[in-house]
Symmetry: C2
Amino acid sequence: MHGPATEGRLSHAVGRQRAPAGFVPDVASDFCRSCALSSVCAMVGYGKPELSPLHGLMEHLGPYRAGETIFRQGDPFEAVFAVRAGTVKTRQLDHQGRERVLGFFLPGEVIGLDAIYPDRFPCDAVALEDAQFCRFSFSAMSALATRQPAVQRHLFRLISRQLGMSRLLAGDYSAGERMAAFLVDLGERYAARGFPGTHFQLSMSRSDIANHLSLAAETVSRILSRFRAKGLIGIRGRVLHLHDTQRLRDLGRKLLAA
Amino acid sequence: MHGPATEGRLSHAVGRQRAPAGFVPDVASDFCRSCALSSVCAMVGYGKPELSPLHGLMEHLGPYRAGETIFRQGDPFEAVFAVRAGTVKTRQLDHQGRERVLGFFLPGEVIGLDAIYPDRFPCDAVALEDAQFCRFSFSAMSALATRQPAVQRHLFRLISRQLGMSRLLAGDYSAGERMAAFLVDLGERYAARGFPGTHFQLSMSRSDIANHLSLAAETVSRILSRFRAKGLIGIRGRVLHLHDTQRLRDLGRKLLAA
DNA sequence: AGGCGGGTTTGACGTGTGTCAAAGCCTTCC
DNA sequence: GGAAGGCTTTGACACACGTCAAACCCGCCT
């Protein structure tokens, strides 16, 4: 939990793909404005190039190509990652090699918080499109949090938030409810990060969606067809339009309300 | 997030049931030894009656009778609760009043961490048997955490841990797998808290179990009968014996492995 | 002790969704 | 441009589990 992270099983990626040392993030940029960790960067004075009070807290990572792995199940936990561009899925591999898709992450969202307790990453993180990241040394961030109560509070809330969200998929919901909630949630998350919330590309395959929602890929396909037939969405390949968000939200209300 | 909690919607319970002011917990006691927050108490010198460096951090609560509510969905978040005795279920109530059982908590376990982000409790906590609690002011604990990195780290890990666990119920597992994993998990948690791990009372009803596992109560009953017929368990009413933990663990391996 | 009531068990039946299969579509790569 | 392969769609069928119903059991209260 301390020291630079250039050693260990992440080094193949970290060593090769680090951003040039002179790079300084800009909290006011499009990239950073909507990031869940922007307040952490702001706190240490990033954005003012002349200050670097906590060199080693954050560094850029990438670009990764679609399909490449950012970290692997079992890797020692040393940092969390904010998605800067692209999208990511996290997955666990069964003892029999069967995949289990835990979640999808959009720009501005944070990966790796579930690794704090076991001190190892409990899942792989795989880029679904070309992607870039900000890597936050967790030991540096913890140290900062003891000096800055606002940072500590922010981290507590960030982890607690995922706790509440990860429970949503545990109920006994129908395939339609799950799909509706999934689509609405995705739209809201895109919107929250400054993208159009009713018109976007699904960066993951039907079977990834199915796996994530505990459905069969065929069921996902059927439900999407049904939604289209009812005029709720438009979908062609992976290009999605949400036509009637309100009705979708009603369908997924059981999951979305919390 | 600050100030005493004697006001607000918790006051009916808090005001009436607080332990006498002179009470001092004893970290070496049976009650405390296995508690997930014992290190926090130890950190501030509880157990040494002459010290009280952080009066207001923790206080005792209860006893509550079976069926009584410790906190309610929507209550403002001011504290987390460690179970001192008895067992508890947390549940959400649907917009239509349908119950959703989120979890069961044994002595030594901590309730309320999912309330940090929304700043309100997302669920009710209901005593399943007569129960007592230690109430930890979260603002006091946060303040302590900024001074004691070990406490901060402990809290991060505690929340992150629940994050990993709450994902287990989200997969598409068969009823048998769910039940097996549930029983083994319960046994291990009892064992971790110093109770016999293969012989205990289920403090919750079949329908609570069913709801929690996203099954029908009838299915739970049927699975338990099947497990008994196969010699895996003995069960009579709510008294449970785990006869073949190994085979149960195999059945629930998909969930338990992580 | 007796009787009430909720929880539990067991059976019969229906259905949502998984599985298997085949055809179609899109993308990629040569 | 054409072929190959993976992803997607659609259909037919099976099965695990939910639902409905009835009987049972047990604790609890009078």
